[in-house]
């Protein structure tokens, strides 16, 4: 077949891709699709922009024109002279009270501050175990004792004794483990108890040994009190919650009933009623001559409260495990304690971590309720000593904004962490 080459056009190069038509790309396209794609959408955009303008028109002058240096609200009003600025000097003047309460000795503010700073070394090894060496968990383990010593003061022998008791108990537990879980647990508790008694006597004999000046619990206040209650109660309630969750799954009817009744009872009543119990009822159930601190009673009740919620989260984790895991443990000949410790709980807890973090955030927010039983946490401080003082009566926007920011930073941070963790733990799909 003859070919005619004369009029042939053969492209030797590919045409470079043409740019998308203007209006189908860039900012214009984005605005078209996301903001004004239809009439209702455009109206919604206008409403949204107006709301943002309204919020900013109040907020910006308030912050920009605000004053930070006056001594009381009258001076503040003179300086501001109706400019719409905020009276932030209440924060510069009273921030210490909001953070530490009004009775914590001001010369010791460095102690809780240091304890707070150390939190950033103690917590990450537990929160990010996949990125940090396991050895750093020692810092996490030591933290409660160091923090207790820093915040409450007293002789260093008390936290050292507590730590020694825990170590001895743990050692006894590992040594006795071959005789069965119950024996090991009993041995561990006895060992720890003996050491605690011994150190209790030593510390009682030498109250001045390497002592920081002691601060009474009732002098704790401000945001520090919220942090203490939150951290202590969550850490205590996790082991208790595990026990309750296992008890609820137990095949022994008596144990099951006790756990179910406890969990459902605590979950069914508001935290305030439990705080009332801590405030006015719990003292009736202690021996007549005992004098238990209000803060300790509150810690007991809040721990019970959050333990019930954490138990339900962990129960969800236990239920989510396939039955094969339980059967595999049985077929390996593991007894109940071994099966739980080695096979079931590590997986169930991994599933429940995001839920536990959610409970922790909720609990941290709920620590503000202690202000109702006249403890001076952050909310109590602002409502009581600060807003009712003659110097700062009426500076509510600034003080509450400060409280909101503190809580928002902590809670938002933790919930973002929980979302991140959920992504990390989702190993089964991409």
């Amino acid at each position: 077949m003859a070919q005619d080459h004369s009029s042939a056009f053969v492209r030797t190069q590919e045409i470079p891709p043409a740019p998308p038509p203007p209006g189908e790309t860039g900012a214009v396209h984005w605005i078209k699709t996301n903001l004004i794609s239809s009439v209702p959408n455009a109206i919604a955009t206008a409403v949204g922009i107006y709301v943002i303008y309204w919020l900013l028109s109040g907020l910006v002058p308030w912050i920009v024109n605000g004053t930070w240096v006056t001594n009381n609200i009258r001076e503040c009003r003179e300086v501001l002279a109706g400019s719409g600025g905020g009276c932030f000097s209440v924060l510069t003047e009273r921030y210490a009270q909001m953070l530490f309460g009004f009775e914590y000795p001001s010369e010791f503010y460095w102690r809780p501050s240091l304890a707070f700073a150390l939190l950033f070394f103690a917590v990450p090894p537990a929160l990010f175990p996949m990125y940090l060496p396991r050895g750093m968990l020692i810092a996490t383990g030591l933290y409660p004792f160091v923090a207790f010593w820093l915040i409450w003061g007293g002789t260093i022998l008390t936290p050292i004794g507590a730590l020694a008791g825990v170590l001895v108990g743990y050692y006894a537990f590992t040594k006795l483990d071959k005789y069965g879980f119950a024996a090991a647990l009993g041995g561990g508790i006895v060992g720890a108890w003996v050491v605690w008694q011994a150190f209790g006597m030593i510390a009682g004999g030498m109250p001045g040994f390497l002592a920081l000046e002691a601060v009474l619990s009732r002098n704790m206040g401000g945001f520090m009190l919220n942090m203490i209650l939150g951290v202590v109660c969550v850490s205590l309630s996790i082991p208790l919650g595990i026990v309750l969750a296992l008890g609820r799954q137990s095949s022994m009817p008596l144990i099951k009933i006790v756990c179910v009744v406890f969990i459902e009872f605590v979950r069914g009543v508001p935290l305030i009623t439990l705080l009332f119990v801590a405030n006015v009822v719990l003292a009736y159930f202690f021996p007549p001559d005992s004098n238990i601190d209000l803060i300790l009673r509150v810690i007991i009740m809040i721990t019970m409260f959050s333990a019930a919620y954490i138990a339900e989260v962990i129960r969800g984790g236990l239920a989510a495990l396939p039955t094969g895991q339980y059967e595999a443990a049985d077929s390996l000949g593991l007894n109940y304690a071994q099966a739980m410790r080695l096979i079931i709980l590590p997986q169930a807890l991994k599933i429940s971590i995001p839920g536990i973090v959610n409970v922790a955030v909720g609990l941290f927010k709920d620590t503000t309720l202690v202000s109702v039983i006249s403890m001076f946490d952050l909310v109590g401080m602002i409502r009581g000593p600060i807003l009712s003082s003659t110097d700062w009566a009426g500076v509510y926007w600034e003080t509450w904004a400060f409280a909101c920011i503190l809580f928002f930073v902590v809670c938002f941070g933790i919930s973002k962490y929980s979302q991140w963790l959920e992504g990390q733990l989702r190993t089964d799909r991409h």
Binding site: N41, F285, C404
Partner: protein, 408 residues
Amino acid sequence: MTTLSDPPKSDFRIGMLLSDTRYRSYTFQFIALLAIILSVSYLVSNLLANLDRLGQDLSYEFLGAPAGYDINQQPIPYNSQDTHLRATVVGAMNTLIVAFLACLTATVFGVIAGVLRLSNNWIISKLMSVYVEIFRNIPVLIWLIIIFTVTANVFAPIAEFRIPRDGSEPARTLIFGVMAFTNQGVFVPRLTFEAGGTIVVWTFIASIIGIFAYKSYVKKHLFATGTELPFWLPALAILVIPTLLMFLILGRPVGVQLPEMGRFRFEGGLQLRTSFIALWFALSIYTGAFIAENVRAGILAISKGQTEAAAALGIRPGRIMSLVVLPQALRVIIPPLISQYLNITKNSSLAIAVGYMDLTGTLGGITLNQTGRAIECVLLLMLFYLTISLLISLFMNWYNNSVKLKER
């Protein structure tokens, strides 16, 4: 052929209580029972010793004594000479009122915010996520106090509504002549009932039930014949006509009483106090943020394939939502929604922080402080909330069972 031998029937030995799994659980339960009995008796003996030392006893007789304090919101008639029991009942009713209203408005806020957060309008969806994150991460107590302080300080004092001596216009007037926002609360019209008024109300309730009956009839008719009966117009007729007829026949027994400015304060109308408004609004807007998340999760849980399959069958977009997506999403949304209602009921006990006289304010607050009957009061308080919680959980279990996917 193999023979199966019976398992060896060994005699029961005392050691088997520990070593044999068949008996060990009895041992453990016995030990647990012993421990429970011991600790309970220890606590009770402490309790008795403490009561004895303080010269107190446990009795509920104080409930019959006159309360001697006033309650500022009374759903049923009450005065300070009535008993503590009546004060408790008034408090419980106030709890239920605020919890019920907050559940309604929280659902409205939550559904709106949850749907808008999925909107394709970037500004609106971002605004809604800011709302959700801000309200979820700050304690409800702080919101409650902020809203309470703001309503008490930002709204105009009642004095500005007063007609000045010289007869000139007052600084402020009622909005549309029916409502007033003041720093002592919101004044709204009140419904007044004369003789026969309740009959009108019952007629109204009966016509609402009638609408549901008509709806199920329409559905049955549709399934039986394939033709659709009109729904909205007849429903409107059922709603309005019987009530209106009854209203006119009985001689207009239901009236509206508007709030009016008297010499010093508002007379007539219904005063919604600042504490009530603050509690209601704070609970709704805080829980609304949580409900928004539930709603969003529920809608996202329905896979896109469902919408596309429905569209492929030629169903109109509005019907896809109501017939395909929503019924499935509701199954995901409603259980967490009900537990949010439970949270609202429990959080309504925060009323004590702003002085709203709910059950915690009456029984757990003033009655407890006046009589000193701490154990009895706290026990009753817990019992009330526990009953509500258990009722709601029962309802939730019933609902979960009724919407569970029926697998065959």
